[in-house]
Amino acid sequence: MAMLHTVNKSVFERSTLDSCISMAKAGSSILLIEDGVVSAIAGTAAADRISKAMENISFYVLGPDLRARGMSEDRVIDGIKVVDYEGYVDLTTEHDNIQSWL
């Protein structure tokens, strides 16, 4: 039973992404939205532990929220897939349930 987790705060503001990574089962997915898109940027102090988590968990980031914050898709960590709202909807249908980390 694969779960989609959404995280809407930066890894530098709240501990929700780290909590989510520690709780998420292998084969589940994490979608970064709203201020959570900051966590997807390559080269930050958090990038290494996100890359490590990607061994077991698929990572996605919401493109419109990324661009709204002045960040381009070529700056995201290798392996994180950029999706639009249509992709967001698809992720919710492809997973059995959705946990919004708030």
Binding site: N8, Y85, Y88, V89, T92, N97
Partner: protein
């Protein structure tokens, strides 16, 4: 736009108010994308500060989005069921005509397309919908 066998029923839970958090905007874009893909939005439930999205007394600047109006129009276009939690609404001064009269208030302020009901509507949405998505802070 095609309605196919992959179409799902969605329920959305909104826990934050307008112009302070992105939750309601994210929910709106999600709802539009889901509807465009042929999915059904079974219900949108407004809870906690989320009930503040349902007031028709807000007058945002003309160059900004009118969040309440966006939802009223989406509800009209797609026959959406926008349900406001009654206990959360009464605390925050969101009243339909019946409640305004019952509480002796001078006016009602529930926007078009919204209705006031109880928490049972959220539970029912969770049971009936294929996916329940929470938008909050």
């Amino acid at each position: 736009m095609d309605q196919d066998e992959n179409a799902m029923k969605f329920a959305l839970l909104i826990n934050e108010g307008p112009y302070q958090h992105q939750a309601i905007d994210s929910a709106y874009h999600f709802a539009k994308a889901a509807l465009d893909k042929g999915h059904e939005i079974f219900r949108v439930f407004f809870y906690h500060d989320g009930v503040n999205n349902a007031t028709n007394m807000a007058v945002p600047p003309q160059d900004d989005r009118n969040i309440t109006q966006q939802w009223s129009e989406l509800a009209k276009a797609h026959d959406l069921d926008l349900v406001v939690c009654i206990a959360a609404a009464q605390r925050r001064g969101i009243l339909d005509e019946n409640e305004a009269e019952r509480q002796g208030k001078s006016c009602a302020n529930l926007a078009d397309g919204f209705r006031i009901s109880g928490l049972g509507q959220l539970i029912e949405a969770g049971i009936i919908a294929d996916r329940l998505i929470t938008f909050g802070d």
